[in-house]
Subunit: 349 residues, 2 copies
């Protein structure tokens, strides 16, 4: 049915003529068209209005021709559904006025009926699928339990989320109890996204790297595994454990179809860590998109040569930076889409 | 001459009864005695007054009994000496009103006469050595060229220093020119510190991890190597490339006597990467010092068992956090100092 199913074929490890390409945070601040909507509607209005979700999600498909759409939403809507007050301060990030500070605070985090509390997300998916009209697949997503815990405990963004790490080491039992609640909710939430029609899901463990190998093993890995196990029978799962090169090999056996990697690991090392049966996604340093078209092309081509064409989804190593010029983002996308692998050429000749 | 030369013996790889211990940022905000001085004198007055430098540097030796002192100063004083305006906003970090934005801006960064411009640091070393009175070694330090470039270009702290990364990829020639100036100055600065009497030096490449393996190879490694090569004949050199696990093996051959590691790499993996001829320093997650005495002891003991007693300096994986209770920092230091390795016990019995 899909006109462009490159992403799904890459996730299944099927042969492709070139890798699919999309960009994390592509439905976001770097687009002037998004900025205009941002001036009119506040953050949660944008997330909660199905028509706006559909419009924003489709912007990068319309304007850049990426090979996949990712639903416009935020990882913290799950915390709101769990009874937590979350504010989004434009340009300054999230603020949770009542963070989890003590084990007793975990009791006030409840497992919600996701259909009742997050219905607007599923309606947004329906509206988006209609607007996409089978052009490209739609990726659903959620934050990983550890990353959600980071915000729950810090109450805001942080350069290292040390309060969250300290909480886990100080109160491991309460931390696991909280992570279980988050996992349970996330699984139900992603399953409902699949029912609503997303073609695959990505789990963002944006702060996994801060845990270190031992902390990752304890407080991130088991929950990522549970999510991958529960969702894999429904749809392809992409796990993105940012900064956690030490966790890649363990995640390769989680049931996920793909692992996202950032630019602090080389394609060759990542491949060595995960083996050959799984798709890798990434990993251009988003700062490259602040340079110039030639530099972007050169780095993108080298990246693709290092990953190889199969079992690979071209992307950035983290979200696109807000100050990225649209023309430079387009140069990245087009470089991938115009790529003709040397190997393929020589096979043809 | 030194009453406690454990640090120097560990740096030389000589046998020790137990590892030495100190903490990055130990002469800093977590100490109420430092906070009192902070209320009286602004940041650069504290850095530029030899008596205050001596007093602050000795605080953790007096109050916690650490096995080494590290000079109280800041990595950005070098930029001031190079003609850059640097302000320190209490509680908010550095601010450089005229950051480097274009290649032409590199011309206004000049190589200074370090003796004339940073004389107060060397006087601070003299005053500190007198006050230390041979109790423990004094560690001198500087920021690595890449980390200094980060501040020069961003103009302030950042969660990822993407402007600095983009500058390097966009203007590699200007970036290398700037890094050369910084390296030249840093070498002269550290050599003068050694002449003034420091027993060893540490180079902080706090933002090395943000470069990724390829960027590190280009914009950090060559300059760390130059510094290690120039300083190693004068005194032992410790390199701390925070976040750059991918750079550890290359640094093992730099001539440095020790490599500092953060908590995102396990002691076993770090040892495998650097080999057996070099000392490792680190790597307790500073967030552990926010938990409780038992947790601190347990994690510290496990860390020491993993590193082994020789070729090892106990430390945190990054600077001690400002909110760390003094009693908890002391528990960390004492756990190391009271450590009796199981192996040594069994040899004695």
């Amino acid at each position: 049915m899909l006109h462009n199913d490159l992403l799904l074929r890459a996730l299944q490890g099927e042969p492709v003529g070139r890798p699919p390409v999309w960009m994390m945070r592509q439905a976001g601040r770097f687009l002037p068209s998004y900025q205009r909507l941002r001036e009119k509607y506040d953050f949660f209005t944008r997330c909660q209005t199905p028509e706006l979700v559909a419009e924003i999600t489709c912007l990068p498909v319309d304007e850049l021709g990426v090979d996949a759409a990712i639903l416009f939403s935020d990882i913290l809507v799950v915390l709101q559904a769990m009874g937590v007050e979350v504010h989004m301060q434009e340009g300054r990030g999230p603020w949770l006025p009542h963070p989890v500070e003590r084990p007793a605070d975990v009791d006030r985090i409840h497992i919600p009926d996701v259909h009742a509390t997050l219905g607007y997300v599923f309606q947004g998916i329906t509206a988006t699928l209609e607007k996409l009209n089978q052009r490209v697949p739609l990726i659903g997503f959620a934050g990983a339990p550890w990353t959600l815990l980071c915000y729950l405990i810090e109450g805001k963004g942080s350069t290292g989320f040390e309060k969250a790490r300290a909480f886990c080491y100080h109160y491991p039992e309460a931390a696991h109890h909280l992570l279980e609640k988050l996992t349970h909710t996330t699984i139900a939430y992603l399953q409902e996204q699949v029912k609503a029609g997303v073609h695959c899901v990505q789990v963002f463990d944006s702060w996994a790297g801060w845990l270190g190998p031992e902390g990752f093993q304890l407080f991130a890995l088991p929950y990522l595994q549970q999510i991958a196990t529960a969702l894999s029978p429904c749809c392809p799962v992409i796990l993105f454990p940012k900064g956690a090169t030490f966790g890649l090999s363990a995640l390769a056996d989680s049931g996920a179809r793909a692992i996202g990697i950032d630019w602090t690991v080389s394609p060759a090392q990542a491949r060595a860590l995960v083996g050959h049966g799984i798709t890798l996604q990434g990993n251009l340093d988003p700062a490259i998109l602040l340079t110039d078209v030639n530099t972007i092309r050169r780095h993108t081509l080298r990246m693709m040569e290092q990953f190889g064409i199969r079992h690979y989804i071209a992307n950035l190593g983290h979200g696109i930076l807000p100050q990225t010029p649209v023309a430079y983002a387009r140069a990245f996308v087009q470089t991938v889409q115009q790529y003709t692998p040397a190997q393929q050429l020589s096979t043809k000749s």
